[in-house]
Amino acid sequence: MTAKGWIDGDETAGDMLSRLLTEQLPFLLLPPLHRLPLRVGNVVELVGPSASAKTQILMQAAISCILPKEWKDVHYGGLGRLVMFIDLDCRFDVLRFSQMLKHRIMEANGLSNEVQWDEKVGDLKKSRSKRKPSISCDEELFALCMRRFLYVRCYDSFEFLATLKTLHCRLQQESEAHGIRFYFLMIDSIGAFHWVDRACRPLPVRFNNRKSLSLRCLSETVVQEIRNLLLVHPMVVIASKAIITVDKNSANEVKWKFGKWFAPDTSYSDNIKSNTEHFKYHEYMPSVWQTFVTHRIVVQPTGSEFFILENVSIVRIKSSQSIYRNGYCHHSNLWTNLLWEMLVSLLYLDVLPWLI
């Protein structure tokens, strides 16, 4: 390259901005999180303790991604792209997923929650809606969407790495078969093999340049492989991570640090402890993973039986200005009698104003 070409640069800031604005796709997380400015190439970590709806959030995002924008004159508002789901926890429930997808399809068709869906008979029992969609159309769309969802499960780190190594070819095949590209790479959850890998102490290697199967080396390879993959398949990576909180405040006395909402970002350290005062946890992933993550979303269920309080903190790291907000919502006797799917749909409809 000539010196002149190097000085000229690739494009002007105006060009870049207009390019980015057209490239930017609507983000598909649940409403409080949809304002997070994410772009292809970002690595999002979804952090939360057990039973904080991490997998639910992933599933919702996946459904929004695989649904088309429009299908036979019905607006679904999806993205019509492919999703790759790597299940390290081995707890993905496909029945639940299909249920949620059907619910979304029916919702878009103007059918209420109460309508019973009878698969075997293939008709709608007692539908109060004015518009009656043809069922064959729905089944077709359902099958189309389900085929856009790719799933693989791994039982140990080696299988995970073997999957990542060979994912490129698989993604390519699927993209070509469907004629669309991947948008999400989901990993649920990234720390699943932490304890097993940590206890595995490989024998000292005889050769200097031979890599050992240590925790650090495994993480480095995982990050490297995902990085390589992103070069060829630009995607958003979302990895959930289960954590053990060291929260001293029990559910009954959650303190809210309202004054800290827009606290200036202190230098980012390996431990998040200083950042969110009421929400502390031990960071256990190696630093190579932590530096790979561009956005971190913290979800935390803090609710006793009659008091639901969901807190979503968004900590955007690696930027001079930190977006860090809290939202909360009180709903008495909502949680107890509520099915999960109803809660999730409420969240979807933006009934809970999480982010203020």
């Binding site: 039973a51 707890r91 085929r147 799933y151 080696f158 304890w195 206890a199 200097n208 509520l338």
Partner: protein, 321 residues
């Protein structure tokens, strides 16, 4: 993991030249290959005189690696497998079956938590008896505290079959009892041993149609894990490995797994499930059992379920002998 040397007989492309090239980059086994950046390796291969052959070898090893992970399925294939192969096993308790939409689902790891004498073992025995009679499936029962009672099973079987004729009853009992395989285990290593043998058996059965084992019960898994927990990460690693092994058996061979957990005193005197936070991410379903002293009515509630709200509860009765 296989050393590259051992692959030579099967794949002639992995010859001594290729092995030497890999050895110079610190690669001796397929595992090393997985840890290595293959783009980098391919770039090095480019500089060698036999680059074409070396790159062919890399592609070959990559194909071997591709067979090392679980198959990649799309949503439709997953759903088909779940509909066709993952049946629901009735527990025999009406209340529980209603609560869980039919009972224990194959492919899932269900955990039952409860304090001492809350009816955990009775639940296991009844479920084992019911699956052995109604589903005619094999039940593998791990007992860690000598609490298994064949008489009690016989009693449950008698109640389920309900036939008035002595001979018919006897026949059902014979069949049901032979369907239940009992293992007495007192440490986690024995459990791993038996589970691995079981996996081997199931795998060899695989070609012959239906897998016979439908239910694995571990009463109680906490008494196997608790002794190895604490002091370093080894114990936790064993616990998580046990969880993965059980989930693998459950999914691949369509087995329902039921494990029992104790409770321990938590903060403020409220009891909580044993085995701590790391265990929480292992089971698919967590159920809490409680029992009022002096009555035979048990209360069961959902702590965690992939598709149901936590907090839903039901009552059931354990009949005395």
């Amino acid at each position: 993991m296989a050393p590259l040397r051992s692959l030579e007989t099967e794949y002639p492309i992995i010859d001594s030249n290729f092995q030497n090239f890999c050895a110079s980059h610190g690669i001796f086994s397929v595992e090393d290959f997985v840890l290595h950046d293959l783009y980098e390796l391919a770039a090095f291969a480019e500089q060698e005189p036999t680059s074409e052959r070396l790159k062919e070898g890399i592609t070959r090893v990559l194909a071997i690696i591709d067979n090392q992970h679980q198959p990649c399925l799309n949503g439709m294939e997953l759903l088909e497998d779940a509909m066709k192969n993952k049946h629901v096993l009735s527990t025999g308790f009406e209340g529980v079956d209603l609560l869980l939409q039919g009972g224990l689902r194959e492919g899932l790891l269900t955990e039952l938590v409860g304090p001492s004498s809350s009816g955990k073992t009775q639940f296991c025995l009844q479920t084992a008896a019911n699956v052995a009679v109604k589903h005619a499936g094999r039940v593998v029962y791990f007992d860690t505290g000598n609490s298994f009672s064949p008489q009690r099973i016989a009693h449950f079987v008698g109640k389920i079959s309900g036939s008035a004729f002595y001979q018919a009853k006897d026949k059902v009992l014979q069949k049901a009892m032979s369907n239940i395989v009992y293992h007495s285990v007192f440490d986690i290593f024995t459990m791993f041993d038996v589970l691995c043998q079981l996996e081997f058996e199931l795998r060899s059965q695989m070609g012959r149609g239906r897998y016979l084992v439908q239910l694995i019960i571990i009463d109680a898994i906490s008494s196997l894990i608790t002794p190895v927990l604490g002091g370093g990460s080894q114990g936790r690693a064993l616990m998580i490995s046990a969880g993965f092994l059980l989930k693998k058996l459950a999914d691949e061979y369509n087995v329902a797994v039921l494990v029992i957990n104790h409770t321990v005193g938590g903060e403020g005197g409220i009891s909580k499930p044993a085995l701590g936070e790391s265990w929480k991410s292992v089971p698919h379903v967590r159920l809490l059992l409680s029992h009022k002293h002096g009555s035979n009515i048990c209360n069961i509630s959902i702590l965690k379920h992939p598709s149901m709200a936590s907090g839903k509860a039901a009552k059931f009765v354990i009949y005395e002998a």
